[in-house]
Amino acid sequence: MAGLHKSDLPNPVLNWIDSRLPIISMMQKEYGVFPTPRNFNYFWNFGALAMVTLVVMILTGIFLAMSYQPNTGLAFDSVQHIMRDVNYGWLIRYVHQNGASMFFIVTYIHIFRGLYYGSYKAPRELLWMLGVVILLLMMATAFMGYVLPWGQMSYWGATVITNLFSAFPGVGKYIVTLLWGGFSVDQPTLNRFFSLHYLLPFVLVGVVFLHVAALHIVGSNNPLGIEPRGPQDTLPFHPYYTSKDSVGICVFLIVWAAFVFFAPNLLGDPNNFIEANPLQTPADIVPEWYFLPYYAILRSVPNKLLGVCMMFGSLLVLFILPWLDTSRVRSARFRPTYRWLIMVWVVSFVVLGICGAHKPEGIWVILSRIAALYYFGHFLVIMPILGKLERPLPLPESITQAVTGRPIEVAVVGRPLESH
C-alpha cells in the first residue's frame, strides 16, 4: 500500500483531503513558496496575462455559444441577436472579440521577452517548444473563431486561408475538401469550425498546463539570464510575484476595457458587418491584424507552394530556435550585437505586419521581401554565426550581486511577510 501523503495542514478537513489528494500541498509548493528569481521585470507579467486572457475567453465563449447558431442562414443574425437582445450580450461579445486581439498582444510580448532574454536556451528548450505549440493552437482557434460571425471577411478569409492547403502537390485538394467538408466553404465548414473552436481552447488549457509544468521543473529565466545560485537569489512566488502580477493584470484590464467600451470595433473590419455572400468578393481580403506578418510572408513569394511553405516555416522555425542560437549567453543585455539585431528582427516583424495590410504592389512587395528575408536570415544565418563571433559582456557572479551591488555573503535574503 502506497500510504497517505503526509500533510501538515492544521485544518482537519483540509488535512484529510490533502492526505488523499495533495492538491493543496501542490499549490503551496508550485505557487506559494515556489522559488522565483528575485530580479524579474514587468516583462515577466505576460505569461500570467495570457493565462488570465485564456480563462476570460473560455468563460465569455461558453456564454456566447449559448445564443450562437452555427448555421449559414442564422449565424450572422444570431450574433446580432446576442448584441441587441441578450442581456449584456454586447458586453460578452465585445470582451470576447477584443480578447482575441489582447491574447495575441500579450502572447507576442511574452514571446519577445523569451527571444530577448534567451528563455529558449537549455535547459528550457521543451518549455519553449510547448510555447510554440500554444501559439499554433491559438492561431488555429482564432482563425476558426473569426469565421463564426459569418460576415464577408469571415467567409472570404476562410476561403483564402483554407485554399492555401491546395498548394501542396497531390494531396492539397483532398486536404481542402476535408477542411471544408464539401466543395466550398459552406454549412459543414461553419459547423465543424464551431465544434473545433469550442474544442481547441481546452486542448490549449492542456498544453498550457504542460508549459507551466515544464516551467516548474527548470525554473524561470530572468533578465540577467543566469541561474539562481542559492536561496538568496530567489523569492517565494507568493506574495512577491502574486502581488507584482496583480499590478500587471490590473493595467492590462484597463487596456482591454478601453477597447471594449470605447473602441470595440477599432481592430475589426467593416466588411464583417456585412453578411457572408459567396457571390460577392470584397475588394480587399485582409486577415485580422495578428496574422498580417505571416500573410505578408505568404504574399512576398511569387510561387504559391513556396509561399505557403515560407508562411508555415516562419512559425515552425521557432521550434528549432534553441539549437540555432549557438551563443552560451542567454540575456541580450550581455550580447552587444545581438541586442541590436533582435530589435531589427522586431522591426522586420512590424514591417511585415504593415505590408500584410496593403495590396502586394510596388513598394509593399519590395519591403515585405526585405523584411521576410531578415525574418528568416535572423534565425537561420545570423543566430548560428553570431553566437560564435560575438564577444559577450562579462556576466555578473550572481543575481543578488547584480541587483544589490553587494557580494553574496552579506546579501539580504527574502523572508516572508510577518503579517501574512
Binding site: N41, F261, P264, P270, V346, V351, A357, H358, G362, V403
Partner: protein, 269 residues
C-alpha cells in the same frame, strides 16, 4: 552601488523609435484615392463620452420611415427597440401599428398580414432580394441595420453620400439611370438623391434642410448600428475608474510586499 543594467542601451531605444516611425510613415495610404474621403463631421456620438442625440435620432427615424424605408430594410431592428430612442411603450405601440407586416398564416394556411406590434421586426419593403432587384432596375438597396459599422468611417461616409449628389464633371461618362455622387466609390450610384430641402415635415420646428435631414438620419443609423452606445460608454467610465483605483491599491500592496525584504528592496521588484 551599481546602477541597474538598462533594458536597452539609450542609443538603441532611439534607433528603434526612428525605425518604427519610418515604417509607420510607410503605413500611411500611399496612393491618392480616386474617391475623396468624406469630411469629418461633429457628431453627438463622437469621443469618449459622446452618445447619440436622441432627439436627432427620433427625427432620423422619421426620415428613415418616410424616405429610406421605401427601399431599404432594417431587419435587425424590432419596433420594441425604439424605446431606446426615448419613446414610451405607448408611442412605440402606436408607431408599430401604422405598419403592415406579415403575421404568419391564417386559419386556411394562407400568409396573412396585419398591423405590427412592438415585437415585430421592422417592415421590409421587399419580400426578398429578387423582388427588390426586379422593382428597382436591377439594384439591391443594402439593409441599413448595420450600415454605419459596415463602412469605413461609416457615419461620415453615409452623411457624405447623402449630401454628395452633384452634376457629373465635364467628360465623366455616366451610365444610363445612374446618379453622380462625390463620395460613392466610383461616383455612380443607382439611388436617386433621396433627401432634399423639405423632404420631410418635422413636428419640433427643426428646419428641414437636406443637411439637417442627413445629420438626423445618420444619427438614427448610428444608433441602429450601435444601440448599446450610451450604456456601454457609461459602464466603461465606471469600470475604468474602478480599475485605476484597483491598480493603485494593488501597486501599494506590491510596494509594501517589496519593502518586507528589508531596508534595501531588490531593484527590479
Amino acid at each position: 552601488m551599481r546602477t541597474p543594467l538598462p533594458l536597452f542601451a539609450p542609443g538603441f531605444a532611439h534607433t528603434l523609435a526612428v525605425a518604427l516611425t519610418v515604417t509607420g510613415l510607410f503605413g500611411l495610404p500611399a496612393k491618392a484615392q480616386e474617391t475623396p474621403e468624406p469630411p469629418a463631421q461633429n457628431w453627438s456620438f463622437n469621443g469618449i463620452f459622446g452618445i447619440p442625440n436622441l432627439e436627432a435620432a427620433q427625427r432620423g427615424f422619421q426620415v428613415y420611415s418616410e424616405v429610406c424605408s421605401n427601399c431599404h430594410a432594417m431587419h435587425q431592428l424590432h419596433y420594441r427597440d425604439l424605446t431606446g430612442l426615448g419613446l414610451t411603450e405607448e408611442q412605440v405601440k402606436a408607431i408599430a401599428s401604422t405598419f403592415t407586416v406579415p403575421q404568419g398564416l391564417d386559419d386556411s394556411g394562407q400568409p396573412k398580414e396585419g398591423p405590427a406590434t412592438p415585437a415585430n421586426q421592422f417592415r421590409s419593403p421587399f419580400a426578398n432580394e429578387k423582388a427588390a432587384r426586379a422593382a428597382l432596375n436591377g439594384a439591391y438597396p443594402p439593409d441599413l441595420s448595420l450600415i454605419v459599422n459596415a463602412r469605413p468611417d461609416g457615419a461620415n461616409y453615409v452623411y457624405g453620400l447623402l449630401t454628395g449628389y452633384a452634376e457629373p464633371p465635364a467628360g465623366f461618362a455616366m451610365q444610363e439611370g445612374m446618379n453622380y455622387d462625390k463620395y460613392f466609390p466610383g461616383h455612380q450610384i443607382a439611388m436617386p438623391q433621396p433627401l432634399q430641402d423639405g423632404r420631410v415635415a418635422y413636428t419640433d420646428g427643426t428646419p428641414t434642410t437636406t443637411d439637417q435631414e442627413a445629420r438626423d438620419v445618420v444619427t438614427f443609423l448610428y444608433w441602429a448600428s450601435n444601440p448599446e452606445t450610451a450604456e456601454r460608454k457609461a459602464m466603461g467610465v465606471r469600470i475604468i475608474l474602478f480599475l485605476i483605483l484597483l491598480t493603485g491599491v494593488t501597486y501599494a500592496v506590491k510596494r509594501k510586499v517589496g519593502c518586507s525584504l528589508g531596508s534595501r528592496p531588490p531593484l527590479s521588484l
